[in-house]
Symmetry: C2
DNA sequence: TTACCTTATGGTATCGTTACCATACTGCTG
DNA sequence: CAGCAGTATGGTAACGATACCATAAGGTAA
């Protein structure tokens, strides 16, 4: 592979001059530029970013560390991140943690070793360890989708509590009194917040949130399936399910199908997170949608800004609103 | 940030010895290992992979260059790639080309600059330019999902022609005689092959593939929508649509909805590519599914092997079978 | 004329690792 | 006991780029 030195020799200039032309920095004459450029083309020279990064202590790489790219919410986020990053000449690495703190830690370690310029992190747990680790290695980070204790960091997320409140309120207005919560993992802020919103909506309506109607599980189909099975075995049976995310809803749907229960005739089902944009041609599930793409854009812009300025300005929290989308699965007609 | 030299000083050894411990290579005593490891922990040392890569000419990074991660097929592929790569200690960069050769070229250039160890490429067009470029820079590459002219390269793909043939045959057996093809972009092997399969199935049954029933578009919802609108405006109207991929099908579905046409009662609709695994709880669309996850696993393993061996052994082509999944949208009962 | 700024270019050191080669001790073989 | 393999460790250079400083020509302000 030709190096900058080979180009320099061929163009009859010093390597540093080639560097200037490549990076369009400093002074060089038009004639030099041309000589260098033809040399580059003739040799098929490609600069080595490892060497550059080693010297400049900057790379043009970002990372997106999330739970699972297969989740339509994160798929959309990933696309948004890559759109902004790609436009700015950055490259994006993605990592699936599957909500495992261990995997998260391993990946962050690797990413720091690779000197990524910045990280978009969906933390597996509401613990500051990961962020502290990154801070120690002065790797800029923006937390995505979830809250974290301690406020000195950038966060872009949705108002899970308000969203949950709104959609549970919808169920209540539809006349439901026994609404089961198929929750996410305890200790994950989105799960906790959605539970809170659920409880508040019930409390406001004078309904007591019976303990046995509330379950906590994982943000997976399997967990949704399990929780739904348990919930329908209660008597009296709940008349509605609130799934804390889309995967839980899919699992619940499967359980209900197996039991021969019709949605929404036998049981209403609503969920957090919309289907992937490509699939909204199947207008079935009533959901609270998060603006995944917008979140990604905001977060990435914020991260890039953070990386540019390198300033130690206060962490900033951007909370975007959710959107209630009423489709078939909630059934009925609004009562009040 | 502490470097290997700082660790060496603290442990009272030479940098090279620290390197040996980190990489578990060469000889060192148990006592040295411990001294080095405590020094590493005390300092919070993290090796610099840029420096390592510069010296060893190897990085632990892969890239997945595809058209759009938002497409459920590629989402699944991405997950599979990351699973295998992550397990092997590699990190994966992803790039969306949106079928644009220019974007593809830009990304490949950037990736070569970053010295990625290998690339999984879904080529935007059936042209060898990109692969040649990578070959020139000795970056191992495995082509995914699509064929490419010239056989000296690794390819992992599905048999699009056979899959299309099978699903069109299904429509024919259901009694359809006017089957419209909502095709993908000309010059993309999957699109071309699916058209071929369609034509052959028709020919075999003595049906002539009327030209006006065949359209070529893009692998997008918008294009599917457009093509479907045109197709239904023909008279006599086609009785079935074959969409060359999932996005086209979604767009077509939208058009049909708008026209008040019921699927499958008024018109049958089948497509290439399944829904994302999470969403198969909506059993509607009859499809030919590609084993996206398996393809990804095979391709990534092949790529890693290629990178290890560095050998110049022949390119190998792995063609996986598709699977016909009959659901509602094809309607009817099989005739013969 | 002197001083100084702008333009154009180059020399040298350095980023943090590891490749390569050298040194030296131990213990075993013949 | 020479010779050699195995173990343990270190010195030096190099990977390919850029930071930093230096040099020099030309123009212009005082």
């Amino acid at each position: 592979m030709p190096t900058i030195n080979d180009v320099a020799k061929r163009a009859g200039v010093a390597p540093i001059t080639v560097s200037r032309v490549i990076n369009n920095s400093g002074y060089f004459s038009e004639e030099t530029r041309q000589r260098v450029e033809t040399a580059i083309n003739e040799l098929g020279y490609v600069p080595n970013r490892l060497a550059r990064g080693l010297r400049t202590k900057r790379t043009n790489t970002l990372a997106l560390v999330m739970t699972d790219i297969t989740n339509p919410f994160f798929t959309t986020v990933a696309r948004g991140v890559e759109d902004v990053a790609g436009e700015a000449g950055y490259t994006v690495t993605f990592c699936n943690t599957d909500e495992s703190e261990e995997k998260e830690r391993k990946y962050l370690d690797l990413l720091v070793q690779q000197q990524v310029g910045g990280i978009l992190l969906v933390p597996a747990r509401s613990r500051p360890d990961s962020v502290n680790f990154l801070k120690k290695h002065s790797t800029p980070v923006v937390v995505l989708d979830r809250r974290l204790p301690g406020g000195e960091i950038d966060v872009v997320r949705c108002d899970s509590e308000a969203g949950a409140h709104e959609i549970v309120r919808l169920l209540i207005n539809l006349g439901h009194k026994r609404i089961a919560m198929l929750g996410g993992p305890k200790g994950v802020s989105t799960a906790d917040d959605r539970l809170l919103g659920y409880q508040q909506a019930l409390a406001e309506s004078g309904l007591n949130a019976e303990k046995e109607l509330v379950q906590a599980g994982a943000f997976t189909q399997e967990s949704g399936y399990e929780m739904a099975r348990k919930a329908i075995s209660r008597s009296p049976r709940p008349t509605a399910f609130f799934a804390a995310n889309n995967f839980i809803a899919f699992g619940a749907l499967k359980a209900l199908r197996e039991e021969g229960l019709d949605v929404p005739d036998d049981l209403a089902l609503v969920a957090f997170d919309d289907l992937p944009p490509a699939l909204v041609t199947f207008p079935f599930l009533t959901v609270v949608a998060q603006p995944a793409h917008e979140m990604a854009l905001e977060a990435t812009k914020l991260l890039l800004a953070r990386m540019e300025s390198d300033s130690d300005r206060e962490g900033q929290e951007i909370v975007l609103p959710t959107e209630l989308i009423v489709r078939q699965s909630s059934g009925g007609r609004i009562v009040s």
